[in-house]
Symmetry: C2
Subunit: 364 residues, 2 copies
Amino acid sequence: MVETSGVGVPGVTELNIEPVRLREFGMDLMTQLGVPQEKGEICIEAFLFGSLRGIDTHGFFALLPRMVREIRAGMIDPKADSCVIKRKTATALIDGCRGPGPVTAFQSMNEAMRRCRESGIGGVATYNCNHFGAASFYGYQAVKEDLIGLTFSNATPRVVPHGGREGVHGTNPMSFAIPAGKYPPLVVDIATSASSAGKIGQALKKGEKIPEGWALDQNGHPTIDPEKALKGLFLPMAGHKGYGLGLVVDILTGALTGSFCGKEVPALEDLTTPYGASFCMLALNPSCFAGVNMFKEKVDRLIEDCVTCPPMDGVERVYFPGELEAIEEERRTRIGVPIQEEDLDRFYQNLRDHGLDFKEDVLI
Amino acid sequence: MVETSGVGVPGVTELNIEPVRLREFGMDLMTQLGVPQEKGEICIEAFLFGSLRGIDTHGFFALLPRMVREIRAGMIDPKADSCVIKRKTATALIDGCRGPGPVTAFQSMNEAMRRCRESGIGGVATYNCNHFGAASFYGYQAVKEDLIGLTFSNATPRVVPHGGREGVHGTNPMSFAIPAGKYPPLVVDIATSASSAGKIGQALKKGEKIPEGWALDQNGHPTIDPEKALKGLFLPMAGHKGYGLGLVVDILTGALTGSFCGKEVPALEDLTTPYGASFCMLALNPSCFAGVNMFKEKVDRLIEDCVTCPPMDGVERVYFPGELEAIEEERRTRIGVPIQEEDLDRFYQNLRDHGLDFKEDVLI
């Protein structure tokens, strides 16, 4: 089913595609790419998670073509399971074995969750990983079982240290997913840089400038031109604070695993070499502290205080972290995932260029 | 020994006081206040940690009078040990029993460290706490034993949610302390608000304005006047990102312990009621992952990449997180902790007002 929505640029047709069709289409491609059924499902759900929650930079149409490219180039081993190298009561060191990023991340979070059920907390650090999509997908895994899920990943060094003009660490996302009672989960999912490549790319596409404080050009000078920013470097969020947090992410991932760290992390776009990012997953079990019911009651009250907070002038109302994404998820589950017709054509062409075979009417 | 340093405002005499004298002076007061020897030492070391590292808002002259006031008011029980309420292999829920904040925090971090030695990771959440001073003091405890130490505390709700104009959570600090090899530890110690009461107070004292984006006045309008800011509310760092992180701190502390959370946390300045903040301490053991030597090598390399990064125009050089504090610690350990003469007089008067007895020549 297709709906052409009235919003958007004149002359541009926007399609809304039902999630069930994206699943079917995606799973067919996964099979063609040699990704086993169960692993393919994890990847497609991770991509849909981004698309449904409005995180289009980490959604189906952004990440599926990336994975196709990386499997075809041999960067990703489509069949690889991750493998526990060292285990303790509450921790594990894991080799991601170049499996699909979402598969590795899902298995890592499972290991952390397994440990935290008994021990109260579980921590896993995983190396030899590929891009996992939206970090909060794996926190959600924990939330579904009334656990707290924390997710960290390092990335290609495109972020300058505070005061510097050379990339030293990545946009290094951190995500915290928290189970609530009567509200949707409270989800914080942020890059530790002021912005991300995805957001700057969106500004470029819309012909917009980017805010000051986001990026430097290739020569290390501040820029508001998204094109120069994408060829240049990103600034940490909140100056020295984001700089510190970005390094902490590299330490909990690359340093803890003894793998690539900071400037050592290869360029994601370089298809000639494995990516080699690292993840860290922590899971905490509220039932080992004051109990799940008490915990959810407290989280609900905190959320209540946020959403009933009087707004500043010019602000309609205050949302809690993850609320806008939950609203969008409900909406897009109902009406479908939006994509512009010309983007869909490019998406198809990209897949065909990689020798994939499909019927276009599966989606529309 | 006193040195009058030439820096500072004309007509203002700045004294530099040797750490050993501050220790002796402080321990005498601790005894008068009924704080047992071992606990008194923890408090004084926590205060000196702030003073030596240049974190004067969380140093000896700021926090000792606060503790005196709070012990005299009955908010702090000077003899109380914290008490484990619930234990799992890798976690503990602890009642801080209104002991001195640094004592509770020290004991909580010890519990987390004990668990992480065997299990790889340890997590402790503690309620019924008082102000612990500089968060990174407790991370340092872990670093001394080659462990990673994470510290979180909630606080009186003075920070608005993103877009709101009522305080919903505290400045909610988070600290990460990381052992390095040939470098001093990498230490991130930040409020999740754009600034802190301490820094705004310093601006007020110097007669300076504060930057935009730090605070709102009592009516919820942006202000750069530090006096109005101190009567008003603080903004989260980096907009929605700091808002999310601030809430996460309340969740890992107040919600996990089932204690005061967000708006429920009492006002620190209200001496008629216990403070009731909560802490969360996490410790991770690099030897349970890729090993301590490998870990330190990676952290060293990351630090190296930061300090050798070419600086932006107008910046002398790039420092790694914790480096400026380590330099200051070395300097102040040598030349002493600076204080203006009139501030020292006020400090003495404040102590006398609380019935404490001492000889002024202990310090100078």
